[in-house]
């Protein structure tokens, strides 16, 4: 791994570009932003995500200067920006409606901000050409905004807001007006441009998929508060609250009471099939290693004639031959551990908690739950794609019986709605690797829902 991970928020020495310090914004009685403090770092792609009316647009408009905080301060590069009107801030904004000037050509739209800076004609022309090239709009320079397509308009708006090389670019639902296909392509284009220009981007969106795709960090907002701000991976895999888990993607939420697990080697609830899970771990390990070693031996080797040909002829052209078989680099300790447990679903990781979620049902084993939660009411958040579904009882830490109520066919995926014994509905997602006709699970089938002890996240609120 040559590339150093971009995580300035974990670096105590990194200086934030933007600091919100106890910022509150009220419109009359309505509290739009409720005492928020957070930092955004240079070169970040920061997403403000939330339902409409959660305060994300207000947050952005305060950065642009169209709204002033009622209380608290916003610092840009260490300086309080409150005294600066929008036209004096090194911040530019891309508007949701694009706000292109209809009476000006694409070229003049992009040049608009540069002209206000009183730059020379040559400087302006050079910069506009650069922006046109960056956004691939060269051949539309002379057109008026109403003569180009929606996607092109979006790129003009982006070029115009980037032309002044702002320290911070604000994007207000920049892709809302594009159709799904174009939106996806544009998301990658945005990331590409952000990387090329090295500008800090703050994007406001209600589309969680968009936020996850483009952003280095996502701040999930609700009722004027940031509930959680972290990388898309953490937000998705380890949501801090029920709200975040529910807002980002699909999730199954199972409520229950936690209990600390006793032994390290506890097995799944006693059922005949689960008995062999208790086998010694050492035996399992060697069994697992053996096929790997065999596959290494099966690497193709040249025969005698090939060796001769190489030594006599090709050696001079291609250089010495490596006899050692090619291998992947050794996995890092964390990876190998994960791989080892992943390949052995029947060995359950030690520690954690069990969750008693329904009368007469086996408790759920959650090895990554905090034993300190014992006795409390908790919620287990499970992503549908982390649930397995099968007709026979699988060898898994957690297996729950249920009945298929509904199947949503999405093309690449199918989502199965399964009703568990106590009436709880869960969603399980399966990749459609086989054709429809070959799949054996259908409506009204009795199935087993299974998931690993590390699959879920325990939420205590």
């Amino acid at each position: 791994m040559s590339q150093i991970a971009f995580e300035p928020w974990n670096d105590p020495n990194a200086k934030p570009l933007i600091q919100f310090k106890n910022v509150t914004k009220r419109f009359g009685e309505f509290v739009a932003i409720d005492n928020q403090s957070f930092d955004i770092y240079e070169k970040e792609f920061f997403a403000l995500l939330g339902p409409s009316g959660c305060g994300k647009t207000t947050m952005m408009r305060m950065l642009a200067g169209f709204e002033a905080p009622t209380e608290g301060t916003i610092l840009l590069g260490g300086q309080d920006i409150a005294p600066f009107p929008p036209n004096k801030r090194a911040v530019n904004m891309m508007f949701q409606s694009y706000a292109l000037f209809p009476h000006l050509s694409v070229w003049d739209n992009i040049a608009f901000g540069l002209k206000r800076d009183g730059k020379s004609k040559d400087q302006i022309a050079a910069r506009v050409e650069e922006m046109l090239k960056l956004t691939r709009l060269e051949q539309f320079a002379r057109r008026k905004p109403h003569q180009i397509s929606g996607g092109q308009r979006q790129r003009v708006a982006l070029a115009r807001s980037l032309a002044k090389a702002p320290k911070l670019l604000l994007l207000d639902e920049p892709l809302g007006a594009l159709d799904a296909k174009l939106r996806q392509a544009t998301q990658f284009e945005l990331m590409d441009i952000q990387e090329k220009t090295g500008t800090t981007f703050v994007i406001v969106t209600h589309d969680q998929e968009e936020a996850m795709t483009v952003a280095s960090r996502v701040a999930v907002m609700d009722n004027g508060k940031i509930i959680q701000a972290d990388t898309p991976q953490v937000i998705y895999e380890a949501p801090a609250s029920r709200y975040v888990a529910d807002f980002i993607g699909d999730v199954n939420l199972i409520d229950g009471v936690a209990e600390a697990r006793k032994g390290a080697q506890e097995t799944a609830p006693a059922e005949p099939e689960a008995a062999k899970q208790a086998e010694p771990e050492a035996a399992k390990l060697s069994e697992h290693e053996a096929p790997a070693a065999a596959s290494e031996r099966r690497v193709p080797q040249p025969n005698a004639r090939g060796k001769w040909l190489h030594d006599k002829l090709f050696r001079y052209i291609l250089g010495a031959r490596e006899d050692a078989p090619k291998q992947l680099p050794p996995p890092t300790p964390g990876e190998s551990e994960a791989a080892a447990t992943a390949s052995r679903p029947d060995v359950i990781a030690p520690g954690g908690i069990t969750i008693h979620w329904a009368e007469g049902q086996p408790p759920l084993i959650v090895s990554n739950g905090d034993p300190a939660l014992a006795g409390q009411r908790v919620t287990l958040a499970l992503r549908p794609e982390k649930l397995g579904i099968s007709k026979d009882r699988p060898e898994s830490a957690n297996a729950l019986k249920g009945k298929v109520i509904d199947i949503a066919y999405l093309g690449n995926l199918s989502t199965y709605h399964v009703e568990l014994a106590n009436g709880l509905m869960v969603k399980a997602q399966l990749a459609n690797t086989r054709r429809v006709a070959q799949r054996d699970i259908t409506w009204e089938d009795e199935v087993w829902i299974s998931f690993r002890e590390t699959a879920g996240v325990v939420l205590s609120e």
Partner: protein
């Protein structure tokens, strides 16, 4: 067949209401004055047959148009009308634009009321409204009494029967025609455009000149033509408020027609006026068309 009839209908309408009267006026302008009923000659006499029609056409000439060039009253009246109409249009724009701007930026629930207030004067007779201005502007009028009472002036101002009174009358009368097109252009404007301009480094004033004014251009042009075109031929306002000093072609036309009973010369004046107005009318229609294209 039915489609042809449908298309024909507006043409018949135009023919009956515009072209036929115009041809009659044009014919009178080519005739000579006569002490008769109607007061011109020749008249078309079908009873005399073919000879009558030949005599009729032989009697027509351009004498009246030549006459218009010999007396400097006429071209002075035309020029004066153009000048008064231009200045009055400009004044109306200066007064109307801020009103339209204020209406477009007013809270949504206020707009219908404001619109109503602009249109309200049309519900009263135009003549009565102009007469009431005489009461306001005269030497003993309300305006002078107010200014004297406040101690701003010591001698009453002479406004009535001067060109200033004509300008006041025209601006007052035609203001709604200026406000409505500008308001409709401003109301359509996306507010985020001004925020974008500010975001890109404009001050508020600069954003107004660079964004708001160009985007309301079609409204300004439409409003100016709607005021300018009827003002040139305006007759009531200059005769009621302008006194004898104000020379306008509409007044000249009236005097030729009713005081001199010289229908042929009056018709010639009207035909020339129409020719002068054709230019701004064509420009106006081109502006409307451009606007439609920009929107479509």
């Amino acid at each position: 067949m039915r489609r042809a009839t449908l298309i024909l209908l507006p043409y018949l309408w135009l023919l009956a209401l515009f072209l036929v009267p115009f041809v009659i006026v044009l014919k009178i302008s080519l005739s000579d004055i006569a002490l008769a009923i109607p007061p011109y000659t020749p008249t078309l006499d079908f009873s005399a047959g073919w000879q009558g029609i030949r005599n009729f056409f032989a009697g027509l000439d351009f004498e009246n148009f030549v006459f218009l060039t010999t007396d400097d009253l006429y071209w002075k009246a035309y020029l004066s009308s153009l000048k008064i109409a231009s200045i009055a249009t400009f004044c109306t724009l200066l007064v109307g634009y801020p009103i339209a701007y204020g209406m477009a930026n007013a809270p949504d629930h206020w707009r219908p009321t404001l619109m109503m207030l602009v249109i309200l004067p049309f519900w009263t007779s135009f003549l009565i409204r102009v007469y009431s201005w005489m009461g306001i502007l005269s030497t003993e009028g309300y305006l002078n009494q107010l200014l004297l009472g406040m101690g701003l002036i010591s001698e009453p101002l002479t406004i009535l029967n001067t060109p200033v009174a004509v300008y006041i009358g025209i601006v007052y009368t035609y203001l709604p025609f200026m406000i409505l097109p500008i308001y409709s252009a401003l109301e359509r404007m996306d507010g985020s455009l001004l925020e974008a301009a500010e975001d890109l480094g404009c001050s508020r004033v600069k954003a107004f000149w660079l964004i708001t004014v160009p985007l309301s251009k079609t409204g300004i042009i439409a409003g100016c033509f709607l005021v300018f075109i009827p003002t040139i031929g305006e007759f009531v306002i200059p005769s009621l408020l302008g006194g004898s000093q104000t020379l306008m072609i509409g007044k000249v036309l009236w005097e030729e027609f009713f005081n001199n009973r010289d229908w042929p010369v009056a018709s010639a004046v009207a035909v020339v006026l129409l020719l002068i107005l054709i230019i701004p009318i064509v420009l106006f229609q081109r502006n409307e068309q451009k606007q439609r294209e920009a929107e479509g």
